[in-house]
């Protein structure tokens, strides 16, 4: 497991996302109300760029004419076939145990803690020492 710096907290506002390439993988980083989540940008169905799809709600119904909307902005739909996934867990809506997209932990790390020595840290495009001004920022770190 290696830690990769993928961006700053400031650049992904709540409801926003950022696509990054980490170790040859395309990964989507999502901000849900200040919490960060990372998903592999590849739908397990047919390989569509899942993390480029629209974010919506979870709609359920307890009976005719009844509709419950929950989890606004937390359900990701694949741009190809509309398969739905929970951004928080990577689980699919229709088969949460059987079908899921790979997800990754996202840690928020203060800039001062990213300074060497950090032998398990691979510098990404936001290597802290090249941006001395922003060293006070918080950075997003994905481990994979």
């Amino acid at each position: 497991m290696t830690k990769h710096v993928v961006g700053t907290v400031a650049e992904i506002p709540p409801g926003g996302r950022k696509l990054v390439d980490v170790a040859g993988r395309s990964i989507g980083i999502f901000n849900l109300g200040g919490e960060f989540f990372a998903l592999r940008n590849r739908c397990p169905h047919q390989g569509g760029a899942l993390c480029e799809g629209p974010l919506g709600s979870c709609i359920s119904s307890a009976g005719p004419g009844h509709y419950e909307m929950s989890r606004g902005g937390e359900i990701l739909r694949c741009p190809w076939h509309g398969w739905e996934f929970d951004v928080r867990t990577g689980q699919s809506w229709f088969d949460p145990k059987g079908v899921r997209v790979k997800n990754y932990e996202v840690a928020v790390v203060a800039g001062k803690n990213l300074k060497p020595p950090a032998p398990d840290l691979v510098p990404g495009p936001y290597v802290a020492e090249t941006y001395p001004v922003s060293i006070e920022q918080n950075y997003l770190v994905v481990e994979l």
Partner: protein, 355 residues
């Protein structure tokens, strides 16, 4: 079979979009004015609201601003170059809407001219399906005659929802003209169906019902074409079901064969079992491919069908139920079968040569 040979690919269902603006220069002035002044009628009950705008993958809107499928360069980048597609067959969905017949015919003629100039000429990997005003046999036959010798048109396109079942004699001149020139009839899902619901039990409420009901339209056409004796009349006629699904066909043929044995005297012109006509005269594109829960069930489905040499890979780009060439055919299928479906069968049917 080496893996390398599996890189050869023919995509038998690509939807290029010809917008009204793109069509205008190819319409005679009289019909340009008619089009502006009166326009095209709506399709009763046909267009259920779809989850995806323009029924397309959300990533297929070209940066140039037109609708999905309208920009050749973007289509090249997102489809032809993204996979090793040697040849792609265009099925542009300019629906013929049963207005003044000459207007229908002018729209088809203009769309075919546009396809030649703006799609087939600049992109040698593309072939196209010929649009015809199929509800008016003489006008449709004239359009087939106009282009019948241009081998870049590989088939005659008819939507699966005609106003009468396609085996009826009204359509015979069209079927015959295609057969005479060696052009299959490509029967693609869609059409206005003379105002009938897609279901045999009335109008459904949801697009999910409509989309699943697509195969019902093909079931009706399969039964009609065979029972009407079309293949006795036109022994060289070939029919390609495009976007019909595969899984329902074998059980339907079992039932049809069984009933035919009991009722044979009603249709004495049929010399063969219905399933024999089907296996001789019909081809099937793959998308949207069934996804049974167990891979072995997929294999069983193809075994029941027994038509591995008549299956044609199709992606349906840019539509939302697109099948990726990498994933449509499960790897449990032998490489030789996948090679046939991805490439060889289409080359044999349409007389294509890939490099």
């Amino acid at each position: 079979m080496s893996t390398a040979s599996l890189t050869r690919l023919v995509d038998c269902d690509i939807h290029n979009t010809i917008t009204a603006e793109a069509l205008m220069p190819y319409l005679p002035k009289k019909w340009q004015e008619y089009h502006r002044e009166f326009g095209r009628r709506q399709l009763p009950g046909d267009f259920y609201p779809k989850a995806m705008p323009f029924a397309s993958r959300t990533d297929t809107w070209p940066p140039t601003g037109g609708p999905p499928g309208s920009d050749l360069n973007f289509l090249r980048r997102q489809l032809l170059d993204a996979w090793p597609i040697d040849i792609g067959v265009l099925n542009t969905l300019i629906t013929i809407r049963n207005q003044e017949r000459e207007y229908d015919a002018a729209m088809a003629t203009a769309a075919n001219a546009c396809q030649i100039a703006e799609w087939l000429e600049p992109e040698p990997r593309l072939r196209a399906s010929l649009l015809v005003p199929f509800e008016d046999a003489p006008l449709a036959v004239a359009e087939i005659a106009r282009h019948g010798s241009d081998r870049r048109f590989v088939q005659v396109l008819i939507p699966s929802r005609t106003s009468l079942p396609l085996g009826q004699r009204k359509y015979w001149p069209v079927l015959g003209a295609a057969a005479e020139r060696g052009l299959p009839i490509g029967l693609h899902f869609g059409g206005w169906a003379g105002g009938f619901p897609i279901s045999g039990a009335g109008w459904p409420a949801y697009y999910l019902e409509y989309h699943t009901g697509m195969s019902q339209t093909f079931q009706a056409q399969l039964i009609s074409l065979i029972c009407e004796g079309v293949f006795e009349e036109f022994p060289d006629l070939k029919i390609v079901f495009i976007e019909a699904g595969l899984g329902w066909i074998a059980p339907l043929l079992w039932r049809l064969d069984r009933s035919w044995k009991h009722l044979r005297a009603e249709t004495p012109r049929l010399r063969l079992k219905p399933s024999e006509y089907f296996r001789r005269h019909f081809w099937l594109t793959t998308q949207p491919i069934e996804e049974p829960p167990e891979p072995a069930q997929f294999t069983a489905m193809l075994e029941h069908l027994g038509m591995n040499d008549h299956l044609l890979f199709s992606s349906d780009y840019p539509h939302w139920d697109f099948d990726s060439p990498d994933h449509a055919l499960p790897s449990i299928l032998p490489a030789g079968v996948r090679q046939a479906i991805r490439h060889d069968n289409a080359c044999a049917l349409y007389g294509l040569k890939t490099n």
